[in-house]
Each structure stands twice: as structure tokens, then as C-alpha cells.
Amino acid sequence: MVVTALEGVLALVALAPIAIALGASARASSIVYGACLLLTLALGILALLVLLGHASEPLAVTLPMGLPWLGAHFRIDVLSAFFLVVINLGGAAASLFALGYGRHEEEPQRVLPFYPAYLAGMNLVLLSADAFSFLVSWEFMSLTSWALVIAHHRDKDNLRAGFVYLLMAGFGTLTLLLAFGLLAGAGGAYDFDAMRAAHPTTGIAALVLILALLGAGSKAGLVPLHAWLPLAHPAAPSHVSALMSGVMTKVAVYGFIRIVFDLLGAPDWWWSLPVLTLGAASAVMGVLYALMQRDLKRVLAYSTIENIGIIFVALGLALAFKASAMNAAAALALTAALLHVFNHSLFKNLLFCGAGAVLAATGERDLEKLGGLIHRMPQTAFVFLIGATAISALPPLNGFVSEWLTFQAILLSPQLPSWGLKLMVPAVGALLALSAALAAACFVRAFGIAFLSRPRSDAARNARETDSNSLAAMYGLAALCFVAGILPGLVIDTFAPVTELLTGARMPVQGTIEWLSIVPIAESRSSYNGLLVFAFMAVTGAFAAFAIHRLASDKIRRGPAWGCGYPDAGPLTQYSADSFAQPIRRVFGTLIFSAREQGEMPEPGSILPARLTVRMRDPIWETLYAPIAGFVGYAGERLNVLQFLTIRRYLSLVFGALVLLLLVLAIWP
């Protein structure tokens, strides 16, 4: 089976030169995206078969490539199968969307060759079963996505985004390289089976944990390693943004799970501390950043950081429970994390596709220039609303289920033996609750400003509904969000083999529970039934609508709206994205972003406009990244002297280096 999967990946790689050969011809984008759609669908179905237990041999294969004494190991197990499903589902949706959206691309030859290669890279990371092929595929994935980020290279901001991304990707790979090096030990056992068999000492394990958290976290966008993400994700073409945000961050989550849960062996209780801390910080900071943004795609990118935070909180809980031998609780937390991985890939893909459709229709990403699109693009507005509801974790959609399961896991924390965790987990839970509420506000703002109200620009006024392929992709994702929301038990049962592999336990079998409810631990404690919630909402909603239409007057009356006494209320006098965010900015932003508002009121009688200026600073960039950048610049300036030495001094440098190395050799024990 792994061979078939590899053949699929090879076909994706082979698409890249075909795309180059096709160039910018009219059919090129249809051919490439169509082929990507079919291949990712096939790979996804293959992986689903493995996940459902219909795997056929061989599941592992060693190819004579890569390091000569190692070879390239590839393997498919339930964990990689689960992530393969997520990735190829996302890839298929993005490809379908791109069948329509790709036609708006100005320079398709800059996108088409890298797109299938990028998909292939992500698949290869999941199939790799030794450190060398893992890192090579990881780097391949980074580089192809970097090429896609700078596809619109004429924009200076995109180039800067690409630069920051490249730096952070290099940093991430470096830490993963070190992590694998420590895992492999002095013997250099680089295949995963050998790493799993070896038991690292406590100190080494701690180092590996930190390095894996840094490496995978920088790719996933954990605060404070997220700096590249809100720059790079919006810079790429929208279907690639969807893949990067919805799918590639999941590859990073996979890397973390693979190293920490699978390769590193039995955890200590304190392993969960850094994971929980960074996860909670990402959740809150991500959503606060998202609320402050005006750029629609950047809002979505920051919201990805929030969701990654939620996933890492659930993973941290799973680690804590696993270390305390509470396997059932660990399975619950891990299921919550996996379910959120799955759900987030669905609705983030959907939302980025929606943002892409808006971008294609209006040419605008700035929320302050959108508005009223629900009249112009009713179908896009509908699916975007579903995505926004799902990501805001409102029942009966899927986002609610995974966040609810996470909170169920948090509620189990008093049973943990360690006092540190007993005190910390409720605090993390409070932060998570705060971020969930803020996320809802964030998406009310995004949807309300972009789709409701009156158009704020001509571009928004003249927007057209997007094409049928894009709509099909978005409807498909919305339908999956809905199904996963009302039938979560089905999805949870599908994941059970993964939790069994990693925690040795699973959640109770959900398929046998009556009325399609889900129960995290036992029916006596808590249960949730998405179908029932949906039925209730549908019935009460229908009843209310019926009652209003029947009992109240059903005549439509049109009249002028009261304009607060102002004669001409232009579109710019409406509630804006900034004004929506103002209360939250005043509560949180003053402290975190040191936001300062400055009002400028003209004298009475003056015809100058009144002004309100808001200044915000990015605390993480200024305290963490700017000093490092400054130091590198300073060191570069100092070392520049080395370019202009005399011949004798160069010789002295060589001589000194030689003597130093010989001294080291002489002194080394």
C-alpha cells in the first residue's frame, strides 16, 4: 500500500515538469489542477482505507536512495494515514477551488509547477520513516511553499514575507535536525524503528522535546515563533494560502506528534508544561492579533495561530494524562486534538477559499473597502458564514465538537496527581475560553464587515458571484463541516486506531450509543448530540419564522431608515472593522499591543476633518525578533572588516586557525 502511495506522490512530482512544459497556455491550469484533484483524492481514499483497517501489505518499504548505509524508509501507519486523509482532503478541495480560481492568476507559470510539488512534499513528510527522508521532504515542502509565497514577487511585502519565511523554515529544520540527531544517538540509528526502540535519558528526552516543540512549532505557527506565518500565508495565491494554513500547519502538528508521542517513549509529567504554555499563549495572542487586522486573509492567518494553540493545548493535556497513566483521559485529549486538526483543515480551507473568491471578485483584501457582498455574492456569503460559524465553535457545526472535547479533557485535570498541573490546567482552560469568545467576535467582525452592511468601495459594489468550480469546492467543505458537526461519533470512531497506537487507549465506542450522541468518558458525566442540537435549532427556527410570518403582518414595507439626524449617511459612516475592534483593543490592546489612540478635533468653525489615529506595536516582534535582527546586522557590520585585510593578515588568520585546530587536537582527551 505504501508503494501505491509513493507512486501517487511520484505522479504529483512528475506533474511539476509537465506544468513547466505547458507554460502559460490556457489549458495548463485546468490540466494541472485537475490532475492534482484526482491524485489527492486517490491518495486520500488510500489513506482512509488504511485508517479503517483495510490495509494491505506492504506497509513499509526501504528504497535504495538517500544516505548509502541507511536507504530511504517509507511507512504508512494509522497516524500517518490520518494526517494523509486530512492533507489530501484539503489538497483536493484546494485543487477543485483552483480549477476556477486559478484562471485569475496573472502569471500561472509561477504557480503551476510548484503546486503539485508542494502537495507531493507534504505527502512525503507523512510517509517518511527515517530522519533523513523526513528532513529532506520537510525541506522540500518548505522550499516549494516558499516559491509559492513569492509567486507574486512584484509586491515588495511578498518578498519580505518570503525572506522571513525562509529564515524561520531554516531555523525550524535546524532544530528538527538536532532533535533527530539526539534521538539517533552516537550510533547514528536514523530510522524511526531504531529510534523507537532506543530509550533516551531524561536530559536528552527533555532536549528533544524542546527542539521538537521549536521546530514543529515554528512551522505550525506557535507564538512566539509565528512571525512568518501572518506574512507568508496571505502572500501566496488564495488556494495556496488555504493549503498552507489549513494543511501544512497540520504536517507540523504531525511532526510534533510523531517525535514526542511516538519516538520519544514514555513522557514525564512536566513535558506538558511548555506545550500547554505555548499553546495557551498562541490561542489568546493569535485571536487578539486577528481582531486587530484589517486584511481579511491576515485575519484568517492569525486565526490559524489561535487554532494551532488549541490543538497544542489538547496535545499538552494528552501528554500530561499519558504521563500520569490516565490513558482514557489521554485518549480523550488526543482525540480532541486530532478532531480539531481535521476540523480546522476543513473550515480554514473553506474560509481561505471564500477570501480568495472575494479577492478575485473585488481585488480587495482590506475589510474597510468591502461590504454588502451578501447581495452580490450570496452563495459565497452563505458558505463563508458556515465556515465562520464553524471556526467560532458554535453548535451544531464541527468546531464546537472538538473544542467541547478539549474542555472535557480540561475538566478531568483535577484527577492529575501533580499539583503544578492541577493549578495550571484550569488557567489554561480559562485562556482557552477567552480565546473561543474572542474568536467568535473576530468572525462576527470579519463576516459582518465584509458581507453585510453597504459596499464601502466601487470594487465591492460591482462584485460578481464566483465561478461554479470554486463554489463546488466551498460547498463540499461546508457540507463536510456540517456532517462532522452533527455526526461527530462517526469521525471519532474513525480516529480510534490512532489514539490506541499513541496512548494505548481509546474513547468509548461512539457508534453504539443511542441517538448518535457522543460521550467523552461515560454517559453519566456528559454527552453531546449534534444532531439533536441541529434538529432543535431547525425546528425552533422554522417555528419562529412561521409564527412571525403568520401572526405578524406579512406585508413588506419600504421606507427611509432613520439616519440619526444626518442627511446623507454615506457608506463610510457605517460601523467599520476598526470601530468594531475598538472595545477589544481598549481592553486588551492597551496592555499587550501598547495601543494608543489619539483624537484630533478641529476648532469649531474649522472645515478640517476630525482624525483618530491608532498606534499599535507588535510586542513579540519588538522584544524577540528585532533584537536578534539587530544583533545579526551589528555582527555583520563588524565582520565586514574581514573583507579588507592585508595579505599578511589573511595569512595570519589561516595560520592562527591552523594552530588553534592543532591545539584542540593536542588537548582533546
Binding site: 579588507f644 592585508t646 599578511r648 595569512l651 595570519s652 595560520f655 594552530v659 591545539l663 587536537l665
Partner: protein, 220 residues
């Protein structure tokens, strides 16, 4: 190999190090060139002795190359260059003789420590030989660093090469082609640097490398 043959090889290699030291404190160019000729002669003797001991006739060719090029042609032409440039009485030293000698002693000690540690299982002659060769290389580098005149830097470079040849012949079974390449590299270096000297002289009326730095507008 044992007894007298070992002792003679040891003595010749040791003399090469000794001559390197002598080079180090020659601050007049003509004396330096003479010492370099002696250096090459000792090398020739050492290589020839190795050829005899190892019963490797191709090493005689190496010895002849060393004799003809390094002991005769190069010193003679360098002397002519120096006389032509009128700098044969020039004194050239950046650091004092005492300091340079101390540094040289330190380097020899370092190379002994390193080589004797690293090659614990090797053939004793090869060990000693390699340690001496490394000393010669390091002393040549030291000379290049402590001199300012281009001619003495050339000589430092070529005594460094002598050290390499010593190392190459000390190890058994070194193919001839390597020695040829070493000899040719020396020759090419000599030609290139010789041409350089004249060009520098034409432009700046001196072969003091400092003049070049002044020309580039460097701060010292």
C-alpha cells in the same frame, strides 16, 4: 627499518627543521636565499636516503627535482631578482627574532604532541617523519606571517612545500604523480610570484607588501 638507517633518516629530517629555524632568523634577503638553498639540499639528501632505504627508485627522481629546481634554479633566479631590484641588503622582519624563534619552538612542540598522539600505531619512522614535516610546514607558514617582503614570503611558501615533500616521501607507497604535482606547483608559484614581484616593483618602486596596503588606502 632499524638501527643506523633509522637514525640517519631521523637526523636528516631533524636537520630540515633546524635549517627552517636558521631561515627564521635570517633578516637579510641574500642570506635567506642561501639558507633556502641549504634547506632544499637537506631535503634532497633526506628524500634520496628515503629512496635508498625504501628501495623506491622513483623517489630518486623526486630528489633530483628537489635538487635541480629548489636548490639551484630557484635560489639562483631569486638572487638575480633581488640583485636586480637592489634589495639584497634590505632588512625584513615584522616581529623580533627572539619572538619568532620562541613561536617556532612552540610550533615544533605542538606538532610533536599532535603527531605522536594521533599516529600512535604507525610505523615509528613515519611518525617521526610526519612530526618533523608538520614542524617544517608550520615554520614555513610562520615565516610567511612574520615577513613583510614578498621575496621572503615566497621563500616561506617554498619551505612549506619542502615540508610537504618530506611528509610525502616519508610515507611508503606515495605515487610519483603526487610528487610531480608538488614540484610543478612550486615551480608555478615561483613563476607567478616572480612575475608579480616585477609588476609590483614597476608600479610601486618597492616589493614591500605594505606599499600595496597603502595603495589600497587601508588604515593600519
Amino acid at each position: 627499518m632499524h638501527g643506523i638507517t633509522f637514525d640517519i633518516a631521523h637526523m636528516l629530517a631533524g636537520s630540515l627543521v633546524l635549517v627552517s629555524f636558521i631561515e627564521l632568523y635570517q633578516d637579510r634577503l641574500s642570506a635567506l636565499i642561501n639558507t633556502f638553498a641549504v634547506h632544499a639540499l637537506v631535503l634532497t639528501a633526506s628524500v634520496a636516503w628515503q629512496a635508498y632505504v625504501q628501495d623506491a627508485p622513483h623517489l630518486y627522481i623526486t630528489a633530483i627535482i628537489a635538487l635541480v629546481f629548489k636548490a639551484v634554479i630557484i635560489p639562483v633566479s631569486l638572487r638575480r631578482i633581488v640583485v636586480k631590484l637592489g634589495i639584497h641588503r634590505e632588512i625584513d622582519n615584522v616581529v623580533g627574532v627572539g619572538l619568532a624563534m620562541l613561536a617556532g619552538i612552540g610550533l615544533v612542540a605542538l606538532s610533536m604532541v599532535v603527531m605522536l598522539r594521533v599516529t600512535a600505531e604507525a610505523d615509528p619512522l613515519a611518525r617521526e617523519d610526519l612530526a618533523f614535516a608538520l614542524s617544517v610546514v608550520l615554520l614555513g607558514l610562520l615565516m610567511m606571517v612574520t615577513r613583510r617582503n614578498a621575496v621572503s614570503q615566497v621563500i616561506g611558501f617554498m619551505s612549506l612545500e619542502n615540508g610537504l615533500v618530506l611528509a610525502a616521501t616519508g610515507a611508503k607507497g606515495m605515487p610519483l604523480v603526487v610528487e610531480f604535482s608538488v614540484a610543478f606547483s612550486v615551480l608555478i608559484a615561483f613563476i607567478v610570484i616572480g612575475i608579480f614581484l616585477f609588476r609590483i616593483r614597476e608600479r610601486f618602486d618597492t616589493v614591500d607588501v605594505q606599499a600595496l596596503d597603502r595603495f589600497r588606502g587601508e588604515r593600519r
